[in-house]
């Protein structure tokens, strides 16, 4: 009986957990700049479902591609630029959240390897309903301005 129970449980564990109907597209990151150990990840989240989904965090624990990942927003106010963490980001049904240069972005700390254009880096978004795997394509920096 124990054995019979083990297989379905294992199967359940390897299935990607569902993060509502949140879809990720256009996930990309330019390589790190000289002397720095952090990168910024950009993507678009689309809520295809009928209830709001809230992103509550980000991690790279599974792939270990980064030491730490967090959701940040760049803010421009009174001529000053600063960044602040975004502990919760809610995407309403039918809506999108665009992570774009100069705004929302994933802070990707200490990449494990030296990423180059063409590589893929894996991170996971945590939401109020589960997790969402994100494959970031490493792109040439000039492709960011489109």
């Amino acid at each position: 009986m124990r054995r019979a129970l083990g297989a379905p449980l294992l199967l359940l564990a390897t299935l990607p957990a569902l993060a509502g109907e949140l879809r990720v597209s256009d996930a990309r990151t330019p390589p790190p700049l000289p002397g720095t150990s952090m990168m910024a990840g950009y993507l678009t989240l689309t809520n295809k479902g009928d209830r709001p989904v809230t992103v509550t965090g980000a991690t790279s624990a599974t792939s270990a591609d980064f030491a730490r990942v967090s959701v940040h927003r760049s803010i421009e106010e009174d001529g000053q630029s600063r960044m602040e963490p975004v502990p919760e980001l809610t995407v309403d049904p039918g809506e999108q959240a665009a992570f774009e240069p100069g705004g929302l972005h994933l802070m990707l700390f200490e990449p494990a390897d030296k990423p180059e254009p063409g590589d893929a880096m894996n991170v996971t978004l945590q939401t109020d309903t589960g997790t969402l795997d994100v494959v970031l394509q490493v792109i040439d920096r000039s492709e960011l301005l489109r």
């Binding site: 330019p30 700049l33 000289p34 002397g35 720095t36 952090m38 990168m39 910024a40 940040h72 760049s74 421009e76 001529g79 000053q80 630029s81 600063r82 960044m83 240069p101 100069g102 972005h105 802070m107 990707l108 700390f109 920096r141 000039s142 960011l144 301005l145």
Partner: protein, 217 residues
């Protein structure tokens, strides 16, 4: 003879009056520097500064090559941006936009110099700032200096920055000015651009300003 001298006097008075009239015409009808500035202001998406321009201070902010920044930028128009190298989003975006802007200058045209100044001297040396800036365009200069020198520079540009009290190996963020500064060949602040920046608008406005702002005014 009295008739002649009378005529001479009349001519002299006439010439003097014409001179005064001409001078007055130029003086009153020609646009004043302030009117020219206001006119220019209408054509560009930047703040064109009025007279009493702030000049780059002669403080110890050095380029990666060890040259004082004021000297490195002198003699031609230049563009300045203040940030830090551990800035993953806004600084790369601004420098990438500036690189795309400068690509619009042909190799024959004199193009403004571009300098990136790190206001995070705890983590960035001038060489760090230089390597970072050159990644966007090999011609871009990087500079930094002691905190006090950077503070003097920011004060002169009438902007602010804030480096948190954290160890160099902590992943801290720095609050820095978001603007791009245009300096004339004398190193004086003439115009300020505010985000969002686009290469087309930036290139157009930089050309307009450089062509129309009088370097000696």
């Amino acid at each position: 003879m009295p008739a002649r001298s009378g005529l001479l006097l009349a001519s002299m008075v006439f010439i003097a009056a014409a001179g005064v009239g001409l001078w007055a015409g130029i003086h009153w009808l020609a646009p004043t520097p302030e009117e020219r500035r206001a006119e220019l202001q209408r054509t560009v998406d930047a703040t064109v500064l009025p007279r009493d321009y702030a000049r780059l201070p002669n403080t110890a902010v050095h380029t990666a090559q060890g040259e004082p920044m004021r000297e490195a930028l002198g003699g031609g128009w230049s563009v300045l941006f203040l940030g830090f190298t551990h800035c993953p989003d806004v600084c790369p975006l601004t420098l990438q936009t500036l690189a795309a802007t400068m690509d619009k200058w042909s190799s024959e045209e004199p193009r403004p110099k571009v300098a990136f100044v790190s206001v995070d001297p705890r983590r960035d040396t001038p060489a760090d700032a230089g390597a970072y800036a050159a990644r966007f365009d090999p011609e871009f200069l990087g500079a930094s200096g002691e905190m006090a020198a950077l503070r003097t520079l920011a004060d002169r540009l009438r902007v602010d920055f804030e480096v948190p009290d954290a160890a160099a190996d902590e992943q801290y963020g720095v609050e820095h000015p978001s603007q791009i500064f245009l300096l004339d060949p004398q190193g004086r602040l003439r115009a300020v651009f505010s985000p969002p920046f686009g290469p087309d608008t930036l290139a157009r406005d930089l050309r307009t300003l450089i062509a129309n702002l009088e370097p000696a005014a």
